[in-house]
């Protein structure tokens, strides 16, 4: 078969034909993968929540909580056990002060406001340096770990800034941003309108709000 001549009509028809065919293919592919994509996103979020909380039976829907001095809202997922007793909450928090891009983390707090665990949802820090945050702050070595600490009682800033946490070697900026996100998470957790009885109560709320504002302006 000889090649089609490059006339205006031929070019128009062929390109339109190819594009139409491609659009049809992609449309059906989209339909096919829509459900699995949504499912995998949901599974990822649920796993992140599960990983940072004490054992629970069900999670309430996300609550949007605002923190003083921050325009974005925070998603707080409250967890309850079988008897519907509040066992803790996972807070999706973030920091824009990382070395590159936004850092998004999920932090789990128990009823007293102690940090149970955290997981990093999104980060674009330098590979080999800032990316160590994925498990640096849960490794029980020197003063690295933030697990079990309470942001209301412990000063969760890097030791360079007079805090209690060892920053990641050669990644102080990433560490500061990470801890800022943790403190914002705690602020959101304690700003929760029907927050559970916390040992330190109102003062904790105030302190957390203060430290988060400081952290924001500092950076």
């Amino acid at each position: 078969m000889a090649k089609l001549e490059s006339s205006f009509k031929n070019m128009l028809l062929v390109l339109a034909g190819i594009s139409l065919f491609s659009a049809l293919t992609l449309g059906s592919m989209y339909k096919l993968t829509e459900a699995p994509i949504a499912a995998s996103k949901k599974a990822k979020q649920e796993n992140a929540i599960k990983a940072v909380l004490p054992p629970f039976d069900r999670i309430a829907d996300a609550e949007k909580i605002t923190v003083e001095g921050v325009t974005d809202t925070f998603n707080v997922y409250k967890a309850y056990d079988k008897t519907d007793k509040f066992v803790g909450a996972a807070v999706e928090s973030f920091s824009k002060n990382g070395f590159s891009g936004v850092i998004k983390i999920m932090v789990g707090f128990d009823v007293e406001g102690n940090i149970v665990d955290y997981s990093v949802l999104e980060q674009k820090e330098t590979p080999g340096l800032g990316t160590k945050m994925l498990d640096w702050f849960k490794t029980d070595k020197n003063n690295q770990s933030i697990k079990g600490k309470n942001p209301a009682q412990n000063n969760l800033t890097v030791s360079k800034d007079g805090g209690e946490v060892d920053a990641i070697t050669a990644a102080t900026i990433s560490s500061r941003a990470f801890l800022e996100a943790v403190q914002l998470a705690y602020a959101a957790y304690s700003n929760n309108p029907d927050a559970p009885d916390m040992t330190s109560g109102a003062t904790a709320k105030q302190e957390a709000a203060d430290s988060s504002t400081v952290a924001v302006t500092n950076n």
Binding site: K3, T33, P127
Partner: protein, 197 residues
């Protein structure tokens, strides 16, 4: 086309005209995605799929494409397959999709893919175009896996996430961009030495 020449076409892409080590094409994904062996391999396989599929389709429709619009027509075909790979990966391999991120949609502008479409598929039969795509794709995958494994080994002491060297070993340089250039340079030298031997 006889069977022998198809095998020849296949190995042409893997060794004689290896897109990375010999033609030095597609450097952007080569350097960008090879921070670990598994990333390199998956990027290579995704590109292989796109190469084979687009080569076959372009060889099929080459006669109805007027010469003056062949490049846009090729790009639409390639972009369609890339988007399909992207959606499939996002649905079934979300972890991989996250680590490769931006580089998957960028396969559209990978010069190997368009290069093979223009240089080979637009002039040859469907069957040998398929082998050409497969050969080039496997050559690309091999190069990316080798480079990824080298960088992962030197940078973190692991290969495919399995520890080879003792804990805490690692030359950070090889995980970062400069290490990619250094490792690639040495691999090209070794590959060409072996190829000529």
């Amino acid at each position: 086309m006889s069977k022998v020449s198809n095998v020849k076409v296949l190995f042409n892409g893997i060794i004689k005209e290896n897109p990375v080590f010999v033609l030095l094409l597609g450097m952007c994904p080569t350097l960008g995605t090879t921070s670990s062996a598994i990333n390199g391999l998956s990027m290579g396989l995704a590109t292989t799929f796109v190469l084979v599929a687009s080569n076959v389709v372009i060889a099929l429709i080459k006669n109805i494409i007027p010469d003056k619009v062949r490049i846009p027509a090729f790009i639409v075909v390639i972009a369609t397959f890339v988007t399909m790979v992207e959606m499939a990966m996002q649905a079934y391999l979300p972890a991989l999709y996250e680590s490769l991120g931006l580089f998957i949609p960028l396969i559209v502008v990978n010069c190997i893919v368009l290069g093979r479409a223009e240089a080979y598929a637009a002039k040859n039969t469907v069957f040998s175009s398929m082998f050409d795509g497969l050969g080039m794709g496997l050559g690309f995958s091999m190069a990316l896996t080798l480079l990824g494994a080298t960088r992962e080994l030197l940078g973190t002491g692991k290969v495919f996430s399995l520890s080879v060297f003792p804990e805490n070993y690692g030359m950070l340089l090889f995980v970062l961009a400069p290490g990619a250039f250094i490792a690639l340079g040495y691999l090209i030298a070794v590959f060409n030495k072996l190829r000529k031997a």
